[in-house]
Amino acid sequence: MTGVRSRSRWGRTFAALALLASTPLGAQQAPDRSKPPAPGPAPMLTLPAIQKFALGNGLRVWVLEQHEVPIVQANLVVLSGASADVPGQFGAASLTAAMLDEGAAGKAALALADEVEFLGAQLSTSASFDASAVRLSTPAAKLNEALGLMAQVALTPDFPTQELERLRTERLTALLQARDDAATLSSIAFPRLLYGPEHRYGTSAGGTESSLKTLGVGELRGFHRAHYRPDNAVLIVVGDVTPGTLRPLAEARFGSWKAEGPMPAALPIRQSPQPGKRQIYIVDKPGAAQSQIRVGLVGVPRSTSDYIALDVMNTLLGGSFTSRLNTNLREQHGYAYGAFSRFDMRRAAGPFSAYAGVQTDKTADALKEFFNELTAVVKPVPVDELERFKNYTALSFAGEFETTGQLAGKLEEMAVYALPDDVFSGYVGAVQKIAPGDVLRVAKQYLLLDRLVVTIVGDRASIEAPVRATNLGPVTVVPVADVMK
């Protein structure tokens, strides 16, 4: 939740200290504090054009020039992620991505890391549900060398067995550690209890202990061969570079990348049904000082035509500091340090949830307030309140376009969800068109109060009886092991 992008020309000699003539002090009228100064007309943020071309092998390249700081962000986005994991191999996309820089083009993991760091570059690899990505940030002067390393990692990984075993142990240990942290457990328990163990969204992208143990070099190579191909990827480059400079570099580094055979048919992601009825689950965390509460259900896909209306509605409900949930649970009641809500939009309908960590002895009271706010938002919203949240949603949008990393992330979103070129330039206007009836309609349509799933990770001995006494829904106690298997 911060602001701005810089244009001062760092890295160049630039030291103008234009000293201002001092205006005389004193002889001033006291300022009028009787009402807040009204902001002037909102300034417009103009984004530079995305320059698109394709390499000889068909790899699409998108360039956004940003010359303020001599650095470049380059993200190779592969349009397949954890949703392409086949049943029984949950975690394959994630582990494939993690293995890319553990040995590539005959270079060992440590040698690759040394070369990247020596350039002053940063290279990361990861997979979300919808995409896999190799992301590079490099000083502009080192772009050619850094792109070379990036291409080796993305195109010709070696998948050394001993590195796979090392990463496997690291990930299994991390799953063990997840049990320590109520917030982490909550982020595992909620989707599992909402989607179940079969649907891909019911398990985190990294997989489970048992699925991690089944993944061998063969599975990872198979995932790489099937999905990492030039006709299933976009190279996004943002920063101190021009298409003219980039094109020959990209052609040299990525031009020999060839697809093998036809594109695999995308696994259909099943639209998960909503829960049949309201359910409250308690996951025991003995002695916890707070309970992690999540309330929600199956949300919407990124392609929803209600994207903007839901964005405004969620900003009002739990997507800003002055949202209703934060105002209630933090500012009015002091039950929590903060309370939020969000729609996690993916190719298929990801989860919607409202959530907070609340002090243990106020768990039941806080749960009632979650239901009060979810109930209230399915009623007409006062016009002035809606205007305030529309303004916030629209006017703070520019702050999301601050750094090369953020800009590249926005372009990734366009690539992965095939969004139109004007999706960002048209955003502010689209927000301003939202009417009270739109917000009411989407709230009624998507926040099904009698289907809500609640997960509470907390000290069962203290919270179970008070939560049952709220009569907000049937209560089931779920062992930690059940949500993690």
């Binding site: 602001g3 810089s6 244009r7 807040p36 100064p37 002037g40 320590d180």
Partner: protein, 451 residues
């Protein structure tokens, strides 16, 4: 939001480092600014950066948890929360609703040394931002009530539960302050404070703290972004000139803290894996040794080839993670090495290896490539920092930090030069001088016995 961020300070300083060595040799970093001081003592720094039509208003009050009275630990941070709750001409809740209604974000944070506040938003809202910032600087107490104190007391207690009590190893971090600094030293208690002291904080304490520390002569204001410097100066004078100067604030000046031996402690937590903390008292921000120890932290635990990571996590695989950092602070810094053991692995063996690697670095300078790798990383991270003008650790916040510590808002080049000037022998010398095995704290956290 409104968070204590003490643990993040070290990372911020590490990230502020040198410029890229281009073909023409190192470029000089510079950030243009103007500055002036109002008659009431408020120091103002203006930095124009017009790439995006956004401005940031960044205020530092030169008071942190180090100025708290006995029995009132956590008060500076609780007070920070109250600064958002309204002032004479701003009804409770309106600070945030007016700003969000104008498309602006805001936050604040408290460390041992200072409290900062920022507002980022469209340039068209600058007048509103300065009105709000000046109203709470001048007139916070006019509408302060015991009920407002109670409300934020509950929020801060939940912040403590969320960030420490309910977070794995969170209580260990609170313990380290008391182990490293002697009783009574301003850094010997945590910024979040104890529950007991948070309960004891009163409306009267709020009034006294405001009158003592929240005066324009104890603050500095940086305005950055798409501003017209002449108009902005006029706006600042309009809103801030009328705020009266306060009494001079005495600097916190405790006797230098020193460790004279090894302090050991072991505690249990509801965690799966044992963890080892080793801590030393090291030179304060910008003092000789401070930059060298930043580099040491990267040599030990930054990246796969760093010495401790490679040996403990990569080669031997007896640790799940390792980190090292120089937490730079005004009155004296802390250097920490933190290692989490793999299941069933012995912290004693891990400690022996950490000691071996520290001895090795003290005994022989790092290799040239190793040194340059770290320096190139530091230089590039400096560039990445230049991308943002607002928010926490954006350029405006850094200019306030530089001004506070050195009197020069554009200290970027000088800061970078500290790292450029280091040669491998300086690194060995810093390790030998500042990380002695016989003067440090050793804290171990063990998993609670299963019931």
């Amino acid at each position: 939001m409104r968070s204590t961020i003490r643990a993040l300070v070290a990372a911020a300083i590490v990230a502020v480092a040198a410029a890229p060595a281009g073909a023409q040799g190192p470029a000089r970093l510079a950030v243009p600014y103007t500055e002036f001081t109002l008659a009431n003592g408020l120091h103002v720094i203006l930095h124009r950066d017009a790439s995006v039509p956004i401005v940031t208003v960044n205020v530092w009050y030169h008071v942190g948890s180090g100025s708290e009275k006995p029995g009132r630990t956590g008060f500076a941070h609780l007070f920070e929360h109250l600064m958002f709750e309204g002032s004479k001409n701003v009804p409770e809740g309106s600070f945030d609703t007016w700003l969000e209604g104008a498309g602006a974000n805001n936050n604040g944070s408290t460390t041992v040394d200072r409290t900062n506040y920022y507002i980022d938003g469209p340039s068209s809202a600058l007048d509103l931002m300065l009105f709000l910032e000046s109203d709470r600087m001048g007139y916070l107490l006019d509408t302060m009530t015991p009920a407002r104190v109670d409300g934020q007391r509950d929020v801060v207690k939940n912040e403590r539960r969320q960030s420490y009590e309910n977070r794995p190893y969170g209580m260990a971090e609170l313990e380290l302050d008391a182990m490293l600094f002697p009783p009574g030293h301003p850094y010997s208690w945590s910024t979040i404070g104890s529950m007991e002291d948070l309960t004891a904080a009163s409306h009267e304490d709020v009034q006294e703290f405001f009158r003592t520390y929240y005066a324009p002569n104890n603050a500095s204001l940086v305005i950055g972004g798409d501003i017209d410097p002449v108009k902005t100066r006029a706006m600042v004078e309009k809103w801030f000139n009328e705020i009266p100067r306060g009494k001079p604030v005495m600097p916190v000046a405790p006797p230098a803290a020193m460790l004279t031996g090894v302090t050991k402690k072991s505690m249990t937590d509801r965690v799966q894996l044992p963890r080892l903390y080793l801590g030393w008292l090291t030179p304060g921000t910008y003092r000789p040794g401070d930059a060298a120890l930043d580099v040491v932290s990267s040599l030990l635990a930054g990246g796969k080839n760093s010495r401790l990571y490679k040996r403990l996590v990569y080669d031997l695989q007896i640790a799940q993670d390792v980190s090292a950092y120089q937490q730079s602070q005004a009155l004296g810094s802390v250097f920490m090495v933190v290692v989490t053991a793999r299941p069933g692995k012995d912290l004693g063996e891990i400690r022996t290896i950490v000691d071996e690697e520290i001895d090795r670095l003290a005994g022989a300078p790092p290799e040239a490539r190793e040194m340059e790798r770290v320096r190139n990383q530091i230089e590039a991270s400096f560039l990445r920092r230049a991308e943002r003008v607002g928010g926490m650790y954006g350029k405006a916040d850094l200019m306030n930090a530089y001004y506070t510590a050195t009197g020069t808002p554009d200290y970027f080049e000088e800061d970078m030069a500290r790292y450029r000037a280091l040669d491998p022998a300086d690194i060995s010398s810093a390790v030998g001088t500042f990380l002695p095995r016989d003067r440090r704290v050793e804290l171990t956290v063990m998993p609670e016995a299963k019931k």
